[in-house]
Structure formats: C-alpha cells, structure tokens
C-alpha cells in the first residue's frame, strides 16, 4: 500500500531534482562553429535620409540662463552667410531685494539676539565670471550703473524694457534706458574669478529706503573685444550691529531677478543649420530613412541587393555634420552639449512637444569650441542610433508612436549665448548618416 501511494511522488521528485541540475553548455572558440557575421559601415548622403530641414529660434529666454553676459564690440565680422555684423554689445541687469531691517548677532554675553538698530557701513556688488567661458585679453574695466526705468526680467531685451505681446515698452535708450554710473572696478582674470563693485554712500542711503520698489543695476564694459560670462551677481552689506559694535557682519541681499540684454540678435541662417544660443535655436530634420539599401558594393556583394534593414541590424547610427564658422560674436568659447529628440507633433512646429532626450544619459553630444574656429569645416558625429531604429521599427522600443521629425538642440535651453553652426543641404558638406550595420549569415 505504501509503495502504491509513493509512485507518483517518486516520479515527480526525481524529475524535479534531475531537471533542476545545473546545465553547462559546451562552448568552444572555433571558427568553424561560428559563421562570422557581416559588419558593414556605410554613409548615407543627405538626400537618402533627409526630406527637409528647418531652423527655428526663440526657445527659452535669456533670463533663464541663470547668469549674464557682458560684452563690447566683440566679434564683428561676417556670419555663416557672409553678412557682415557689428560686434556684440551685452549688459547684465540685476534686481535686488529690500535691505534687511535687523540682523541676528551674538551680544557680549554670548547670547543670540535680534538687533534692529543696525548701521550699514558699506555695500558692494560681487560679480563672478566664468573664467573658461569668458574671452578677454587681460584686465577688464567693469562699469556699474543704476537703472532709472522699470523693466520686466522675463522679457526685457536690448530695445525693450518690457516685450510682452501687446504691451511693449521700449527703453528710453537701447540697452537699459537712462542710467547713472555709480562705480567702476577692474577684473583681472589672472587674479581670480570675481570683482567687487562698491556702492557709494548716497546709493546705500537711497536703497535703504524700504518703500523703494526697485534696486536695479546694470553691469557693462567699455573694453572692446571682450565677452564675459557672468555666473553670479550678489549684493552684500557690511552691517555694524548696535549690540556688538566691534563686529562687522557681511549680510547678502537676495537677487530677485537677473537677465542680460544684447545686440544685435543673430539673424536666421539662410541655409546653414544652427543649434544653441539664448533664446535657443533648433534644427529640425524631417527624416526619410530607407528600409532597404542598394548601391553599396560591400553590402551587395555579401548579401545581394536590395538589402532589407531592420532595427536590429543597426548597431550604430551617427549624424555627421560639418562645422561652420558662424558669426564671431556668438562663436562658442566653451563646450556645447547637444541633444537629439523626436518631434512628437510636427504639425505644431515650432511649438511641437518633444520626445525624451536620447543623448542626456548616454552622452555623445559634446562639441569643443575649437571645432567652430575659422575656417572650421570639421566633421562631428552625433549618435542617433535610437532614433534611426525607431524610424525603421515604426514605433519606439516600448511601442510608442514615432514621427519622422527629430530636433537637434542644446541639451538645456538656453545653454549659452553661443551657438553651433553646421553646413546645410546646399553646403559643400551637407549632413550625412553613418551607419554600422550587422548581419548574421546563418551561424
């Protein structure tokens, strides 16, 4: 009876135990066991994978850059279309909050106390520059002015203090309107990254008035051929507390707004492709990636043409672009980081939403500024493997919809005032698509 009831469990247990034994597949490194696959590199010319391109500008605002630019007569010369332009003029504006009415300090007994009887002994504006992204031959004289006109931090530009739709208010004078210079300072890049601009006592007195709505300054330079990238503008007060008069406190005042104004604005390119700037430019490619290939001898000799290609065959796709020397005023002085995203609603261009970043995590969009130095003509390659695979698949890897448009853009908009310029369809070196394709040949 016992034997009869054990039959099925014995079968099952033995099967389970033996079936669960570790499997080790015999593996040998032998050429005869593996018919080598075929790896082919081909380059598709512009007309074989692009239907059209378009350059759009105006994405983002200068105020979103989180800093500013100071320039004077920087980079006069022809742009990528050969149109002569004047040098770049740029000033940075900042608005500060009310001065503090009290400070917390330690009295002679060592106790923290709030002191309302404070004396502002001095004040200065700390201006910090990006030493890598700034271009200056040597020490630069920086001038600081107070502004006499109201302005909108979000929309202000060289010609308008407020530039909203239907509510434009021009400056009384381009570049910040009427102003009064209150100090000058010299920044020497060899000595540090910052300069302090002192406020005179009259201005401190004026700005101490808590009913005052605007404490605005404009930072500029009159040194020709200079373009400085401002990373920080901060007002700092030197305060003497009444409860501990032997101590001078350095108290920062909040910067409530900052932007920069510049002139001239870059004109749209006639045929070149442009990416970057502030506000930013994008180049949108309308793709027409072929699903089968013919006319490539190495491929045809091995597999016979036409050869159908699927997403799995594409191991790498790189958009090859040839750099152009654009307007010197906006020539890159630091690395530009580009991104490629799918345009999810091309009918709504230029305001179409975009797909996720394809290079943000993987990288591959970094471009050194030297690539754009005249005479330029350097070939750079932006990885677009995922997008080309999506084109061939007809949907994204997770089954989402795909359009045939992709945007080449800064990874963050705006990234800087500088922009990258590449040859377009009519240039001597139009964009091309480099593909590394792999095929198996039967194993």
């Amino acid at each position: 009876m016992t034997r009869r009831s054990m039959s099925a469990p014995v079968f099952g247990a033995l099967a389970f135990i033996l079936g669960g034994c570790a499997e080790e597949i015999p593996t040998a490194t032998r050429d005869e066991l593996v018919t080598p696959g075929l790896a082919v590199e081909i380059t598709l010319p512009f007309d074989d994978f692009v239907a059209s391109t378009a350059v759009y500008g105006g994405f983002g605002r200068a105020a979103q850059l989180g800093g500013g630019v100071v320039a004077h007569e920087f980079g006069p010369g022809p742009d990528e279309d050969g149109v002569e332009g004047p040098g770049l003029e740029a000033v940075t504006l900042a608005r500060f909050a009310r001065f503090p009415r009290n400070v917390t300090t330690v009295d002679t007994a060592g106790t923290n106390r709030i002191d309302t009887l404070i004396t502002i002994q001095a004040a200065h504006v700390l201006v910090r520059f990006d030493t890598v992204g700034s271009i200056a031959e040597g020490p630069v004289e920086i001038a600081a002015h107070t502004l006499g006109e109201d302005w909108d931090p979000a929309t202000a530009n060289w010609h308008f203090a407020v530039d909203t739709l239907g509510g434009e208010v021009p400056w009384s004078e381009p570049g910040g309107g009427a102003q009064r210079e209150f100090a000058k300072a010299v920044w020497d890049p060899a000595e540090g990254d910052s300069v302090e601009i002192a406020l005179d006592s009259a201005l401190i007195e004026l700005w101490s008035d808590s009913t005052l709505t605007a404490r605005d300054i404009r930072v500029s330079t009159s040194e020709p051929g200079v373009r400085l990238r401002v990373t920080l503008m901060q007002l700092r007060l030197s305060i003497l507390p009444s409860i501990n008069p032997d101590t001078v406190l350095s108290v920062p005042v909040a910067t409530t707004a900052a932007t920069f104004l510049y002139d001239p604005l870059p004109r749209p390119p006639r045929s070149a492709l442009r990416v970057g700037g502030a506000p930013s430019w994008r180049t949108v490619f309308s793709l027409d990636v072929p699903h089968s290939l013919t006319g490539y001898p190495k491929l045809c000799d091995a597999l016979g043409c036409p050869v159908d290609i699927t997403p799995d065959h594409v191991s790498y796709a790189g958009l090859q672009l040839t750099t152009l020397a654009g307007s010197p005023a906006f020539a890159p002085s630091d690395t530009l980081i580009l991104d490629v995203r799918m345009v999810t609603a091309p009918n709504f261009l230029p305001k179409s939403p975009l797909g996720p970043s394809t290079l943000g995590r993987r990288g591959g969009g970094n471009l050194a500024p030297e690539l754009f130095l005249a005479p330029a003509g350097q070939v750079v390659e932006i990885p677009v493997t995922d997008l080309v695979r999506d084109q061939l698949r007809g949907e994204t890897l997770v089954g989402g919809p795909v359009t045939s448009s992709m945007a080449l853009m800064s990874i963050v908009e705006p990234w800087s005032i500088e922009y990258a310029t590449f040859g377009g369809r009519t240039s001597s070196s139009p964009p091309s698509l480099r593909l590394i394709l792999n095929f198996s040949r039967g194993g």
Partner: protein
C-alpha cells in the same frame, strides 16, 4: 494509475531541457539520442531484442507481452568533457530520453503504446574573436553562436501477439521539437563611437515529419529470443517560426535493426543487437557532413544476482559501438561505450516485471577528428504496472 500518469506528466513538464550535448552534427541535425531505458543501456543493447516484455521506442513488438497497464520514465544526467585540437572544456546536462505508456487489450491479444522519445538533439555554443574593418580601421569583434533544441518522436504503436512466442508490432510517429539559434556580436567600443549596440539575432524553427516502424519478436526456443525492426521516415523539416527565414528538409534513410537474447543459465542472459542505417546518401546536408559508417552494434550480459519469489536483482554489463550519422570534421565519428547496470525489480510475477527501477552507468567516448568527447552518463528508469 492516475497518479502514475500525473507523475509522468510532471516529469515531462520538468524535462523540457532534454538536450544532448555534443559538437557532433553541428552542421546537421545534431547528435542522436538512444531512446532506451536503464536495462537496455546497462546491457549494451541498441534497443531491440531484449527478452521479456518492454516498453521500447525502437522495438514496436516488445510490448506485446505486457499483462497490465504500464508506464516507464527514463532520466539521464550526463557529465562530459571535450577536446578540439588544443582546446578543451566540460559540459553537463540532464535529459529525459524516453517516456512510454503501454495499455493492454486482453481480448485483442494486443497492447497499445504511446511514447515520447528523443531522436536528434543539439546544444552547444561557439565563440569567435576577429576583426572587421570599419571606417578604415580594424575593430575587434566577438561573436557568439549558440544552438539549442532537438527533435523527438511522438509515437503511437500497437503490439500484437499472434501465436505462442510470436508477436508483431507497428508504430507511427511524428517528429516534434524545436531548434533555437542565437547569434550575438559585440564590437569593441574603443574602436567605434560610443553608443554602438551589440548585434543580436535569434532564429527559431520547429521540426516536422513522420515515421513508420514495423517489427517482430520471436521465441523459437525457450532459451532464445529474436527481434527485428524496420523503420521508415519521411524527411525531417525545419519549419521557420515567425520572424525566421529558411526552411530546410533532410532526408532520413531506412533503419534496420535486429537483436537476440539467449539464456545461458537459469540466471544469466546474453544479448546482442545490430543496427544499420546508411546516411551517406541522405539529401539536404552539407557536403562532407554525413558519415559513411552505417553499422552499430552492442551486446552484454544480465545476471540475476538475487532471485526471490516476487523480487529479483539483476546485474548488467555491456558494450556498444555506435556510429553517429554526422561528422564534426572530415572523419567519420565512432562512439564507444562501456556500461554497468543494476535492476531492482520490486514486483516480478512469472518473469514479468510490475514495479522496477533500473540504474546504469556508462563511460563513453566519441571521436571525429579533431573532436574527442568523453562522458560519464547515468541512466535511471522507473516503471510500474497497475491493474
């Protein structure tokens, strides 16, 4: 009986990776599986001509003497090693070469059989490192090719007793199973731009085709048992699954086999068997792939060390020389196997086993220059008959 069938089904479900592991036949259908139980393996037999009622995939008349519904299951763990030129390696696997059920119909003097038996299997991987030229520069690539799967035969059979000591049997079978191939290529990312993706491709086929077999068993003397089988097969076809291209058919030659057992003493049996299958003219294979050797043979002894009224314990020993049909290189393959075995017959009535377990251990080698493979293989069979 339901429990037994349940156990067998569970075993079949767990036994999915039923793969032989050999590089033989890597350009063809793979390595042949001997679909036999522990008694057959232990006695060096080729699956035909053993005395006594048996559930056998290759001897359709052998089940004619089964008095009760019977099921048997065979499992084979294998530990192997190989040498190809100067390269060596190891492998191990567990497979289930035979699951069989016999159901007698006493009024018709016959037994219906159902079996699932291994036929050809392949499971191996090859690697290759080389260079390709991309952008005018040599780029290192690593290729991996893995193949996994095999064909089995699902058979329905009938064994008929037509007189004292005379039986005939027929079976009809269909090839089932699948073949999967995986190709993976990785390019050296230092030689190509960042973001290059490895290339991966998988292809899948299912096997199709059918075969027919007919055989006899004859006891011309109480000390002698004879059997013979002829097996005809259609072509085996690899049908591509969706996403895979390429349909291939391979012809399968006629297989003739015969065996005999003679009783030397009251406790000692000796058997011999031979099989002939000439693959040299088979169509569909790459040139130089098939072997020109057609004969396989084997033999051994079975000695009942312990004999009780309803129980016994036979010991077995044997040797087989098998000619696998497909080469590795340009030499015909030969497989030599020595075997030892023991049976535990829990219930045995009038020489008919009703509950048993057979164990066998084999030490074998196969060669097809430059390949040499050696293995230890255990075979465990369980069987039970129930009214």
């Amino acid at each position: 009986m339901k429990r037994i069938i349940l156990g067998a089904l569970l075993a079949a479900a767990v036994s999915t990776p039923a793969s032989a592991q050999s590089f033989l036949g890597f350009r063809a259908l793979g390595y042949p599986v001997l679909p036999s139980g522990g008694r057959t393996v232990g006695t060096g037999n080729l699956g035909i001509g053993l005395a006594g009622a048996e559930l056998s995939a290759s001897d359709p008349a052998a089940a004619a003497g089964l008095p009760l519904p019977t099921i048997s299951l065979t499992m084979q763990p294998t530990w192997g090693s190989f040498e190809i030129g100067e390269e060596s390696g190891t492998s191990n696997t567990t497979r289930f070469p035979l699951i069989a059920i016999g159901f007698p119909f006493p009024r018709a003097n016959g037994v219906a059989t159902v079996s699932l038996a291994g036929y050809m299997e392949q499971r191996w991987a090859g690697e290759r490192v080389g260079t390709v030229e991309l952008g005018g520069q040599p780029v290192l690539v690593a290729d991996t090719f893995e193949t996994n799967g095999g064909a089995s035969v699902a058979r329905l059979g009938w064994a008929q007793r037509i007189g004292p000591g005379v039986s005939v049997g027929v079976s009809a079978g269909a090839y089932v199973g699948r073949l999967e191939q995986f190709y993976d290529r990785t390019l050296d990312t230092l030689g190509v731009p960042a973001g290059v993706e490895p290339f991966y491709e998988e292809r899948r086929w299912r096997y199709g085709g059918y075969n027919l077999a007919a055989g006899f068993s004859l006891d011309p003397h109480e000390l002698l048992h004879l059997a013979g089988t002829v097996e005809w097969s259609s072509s085996i076809t690899e049908h591509p699954r969706p996403g895979t291209e390429g349909k291939t058919s391979y012809s399968v030659p006629l297989r003739l086999s015969a065996g005999a057992t003679t009783q030397l003493t009251s406790r000692l049996l000796m058997n011999g068997s031979v099989a002939y299958q000439d693959w040299s003219g088979a169509a569909g294979f790459e040139e130089g792939t098939v072997s020109s050797l057609a004969f396989s043979y084997g033999g051994g002894v079975e000695w009942t060390a312990v004999q009780r009224e309803t129980r016994s314990l036979p010991l077995r020993a044997g040797y087989r020389r098998v000619t696998p049909p497909f080469r590795y290189g340009d030499r015909d393959p030969v497989e030599s196997i020595w075997s030892l075995g023991v049976g535990v017959n829990f219930v045995e009535v009038q020489g008919i086993r009703r509950g048993w377990m057979d164990l066998a251990i084999e030490r074998g080698s196969r060669t097809s220059h430059p390949l040499t493979e050696r293995f230890w293989r255990a075979t465990v069979s369980l069987g039970i008959s129930r009214s």
